[in-house]
């Protein structure tokens, strides 16, 4: 091409109006620099304060529950069933096992339904999908006590208080969180990968299984654990359904104890030793939710790393 471009004098610059405008802009930039820096500093301080205000209740809560709760812990606390007030050596073993069983069954009920509904939302655009999505969003906001009442009306009122009715209530509570979480997780799978699968002659269902669900596993695990963590601490639905029990029970058809019920019932008595049990139970619940979150995150992180 032309070598004279390299030797030619530089273009003679901008027209005078633009040059004047450039000067104006640069002068304004210098003139306002100090004010802009001050504003930036002010905003930093504001955000910093907000962050501290957010963390204070969290740290205070964790600290206080730990302080009161750790004192109540002992081996017997984890291995024994409750004793009446004034009799030492009681524990919440039945509540711990009860919480595991009730939430486990709720997870088993809600997880497949949540995944299937999420898949439907991804694959079907249109009024039905919009209604379901709207319904899930509304359901997320429904007070848990109403969900408890619902389970009471459709199950307990026709039978009796039972652990499985509690699981149904918690499953209803988990479902909307799972649906939206699963949907978000699977939406991250790009359309190009769907098409890559289809272009190889795969059936839709096979693409969903081998490409979409497989790729979304970290997100799916996180979404489901989030829903579980939310359900584990719910109290109101349990009061209408599992109702609580002093006995150790493994039967889903019987009333069952659970950690939030212990906190609610023992915490509101006038007896010091029962109150202490309630603090202990609160600490166990808090630690459990924390462990659940950590497991979820590490699991998700490991899967993501592997796929890189």
């Amino acid at each position: 091409m032309s070598t004279d471009l390299l030797e030619a004098p530089a273009p003679s610059g901008k027209d005078p109006v633009a040059a004047e405008r450039r000067q104006l802009i640069q002068a304004a930039a210098r003139g306002t620099l100090k004010r802009r820096r001050t504003v930036a500093l002010g905003i930093r301080i504001l955000f910093g304060t907000c962050m501290i205000l957010t963390l204070v209740p969290l740290v205070a809560l964790v600290g206080y529950v730990s302080k009161r709760g750790v004192g109540a812990l002992s081996v017997a606390f984890f291995t024994h069933t409750p004793t009446p007030e004034g009799i030492p050596g009681g524990g919440i073993s039945n509540a711990i096992v009860g919480s595991l069983l009730i939430n486990g069954l709720a997870l088993v009920i809600a997880m497949p339904i949540g995944l299937l509904v999420a898949l439907f939302l991804i694959e079907r655009r249109g009024p039905v999908a919009n209604v379901i999505r709207f319904g899930a969003d509304v359901l997320t906001g429904i007070p848990s006590i109403l969900i408890g009442l619902f389970a009471y009306a459709i199950i307990v009122a026709h039978t009796h208080f039972s652990a499985y009715s509690a699981s149904v209530a918690l499953a209803v509570l988990m479902l909307p969180i799972m649906i939206r979480g699963d949907e978000e997780a699977m939406r991250t799978i790009p359309n190009e990968l769907w098409e890559a699968g289809l272009a190889l002659g795969a059936r839709q269902s096979r693409v969903v299984r081998s490409v979409v669900v497989r790729g979304a596993i970290p997100g799916l695990v996180t979404a489901n654990l989030l829903a579980l963590a939310r359900a584990v601490g719910e109290t109101a639905p349990l009061l209408f359904t599992a109702i609580g029990s002093q006995l150790f029970s493994l039967s889903f058809n019987q009333p069952m104890n659970a950690i939030p019920i212990v906190i609610y019932q023992d915490g509101t008595t006038a007896f010091k030793d029962l109150q202490s049990d309630a603090w202990g139970a609160a600490f166990v619940l808090m630690a459990g939710v924390l462990v659940l979150s950590i497991i979820g995150r590490t699991f998700a992180a490991r899967l993501t790393r592997k796929s890189r």
């Binding site: 790009p190 190009e192 990968l193 769907w194 098409e195 890559a196 699968g197 289809l198 272009a199 190889l200 002659g201 795969a202 059936r203 096979r206 693409v207 081998s210 490409v211 497989r214 790729g215 592997k306 796929s307 890189r308």
Partner: protein
């Protein structure tokens, strides 16, 4: 329009003329796929219409034209990729004797006979190199490990990737470079032993070295599989394609149309339609 584009066009014509007179018998070759009066609509929007041309068996056919003229839309219609995005295809597309949009046509079976390579490399990120290559076979129900391994080696060799990856077949596919990922996607499509391979601007996301490597692969593959190649790059069309279909937008209603189909050399050296001439000499962009 500018001096540079007509200079490019002039160079293309020179290259084409240097290759000697166009062979007419190309046009008499048997067709692997036949498109007859194909039109594609997305709801109320008409994307392309009046598309009639064949994909000659074991030849490379380039689909060229300016942006938005419907060449990718036509390509995707050939293996029913519009089923998912809601595009409506009318007219007739036949794979051999099989009507692709016929009532008895199974989209999955058609897609396993007509493979596709996309604009951007899209290996499955959760799968290893080897699992990517064999995924199509596994999706179609093949479990025999020996068959899978043989198909993988043969497909990776055909895509000129075998020597590069044979010692790390179990590594994640996404660790490969962009050009290698695109080769992997070609291998993945070839492993199913398709009769036709659709390539949608397969080099547009790649650097010049990867591009020329993939172009060589395309030319080599043509002896075994019928290839349709969408490209923006007229040099690529002249380098790779035996036949070329030129698409342009209608001036009045902006719907894409096929304006000319013929041997690549003839299209670029002596186009019969004045609109093609304008396009290949850079007067339409």
């Amino acid at each position: 329009m500018t001096d540079t584009t007509s200079a490019v066009a002039a160079r293309i014509q020179q290259e084409v003329l240097a290759q000697g007179p166009g062979s007419v018998d190309l046009l008499d070759a048997p067709a692997a796929v036949t498109l007859t009066d194909v039109a594609i609509d997305f709801g109320p929007v008409h994307a392309v219409r009046r598309v009639t041309f064949p994909l000659a068996a074991n030849r490379v056919t380039a689909l060229v034209g300016p942006s938005g003229c419907g060449k990718t839309t036509v390509l995707r219609a050939i293996n029913r990729m519009h089923d998912r995005s809601g595009g409506k295809v009318s007219g007739s597309i036949r794979l051999g004797d099989q009507e692709i949009y016929g009532r008895d046509a199974q989209p999955e079976l058609i897609r396993s006979r007509i493979g596709m390579v996309f604009q951007r490399p899209n290996p499955f990120p959760t799968m290893s190199i080897i699992d990517n290559v064999t995924s199509g076979l596994r999706f179609n129900g093949i479990r025999n490990k020996k068959v899978l391994a043989e198909a993988a080696e043969s497909a990776l060799s055909a895509a000129a990737l075998w020597e590069t990856v044979k010692d790390r077949l179990d590594q994640p596919a996404v660790r490969l470079s962009g050009g290698q990922q695109q080769r992997l996607c070609i291998a993945r499509a070839l492993a199913v032993e398709p009769e036709v391979l659709l390539m949608d601007e397969p080099c547009s996301a790649l650097d010049p070295i990867s591009t020329s490597a993939i172009e060589e692969t395309i030319v080599e593959l043509a002896s075994e599989v019928t290839i349709a190649l969408v490209t923006h790059n007229m040099f690529q069309a002249t380098r790779c394609a035996d036949l070329t279909a030129v698409f342009l937008l209608d001036d009045t209603d902006h719907i894409g149309e096929l304006v000319e189909y013929g041997a690549t050399q003839q299209i670029f050296s002596a186009p019969s339609d004045p609109r093609t001439e304008q396009y290949v000499t850079g007067q339409v962009s």
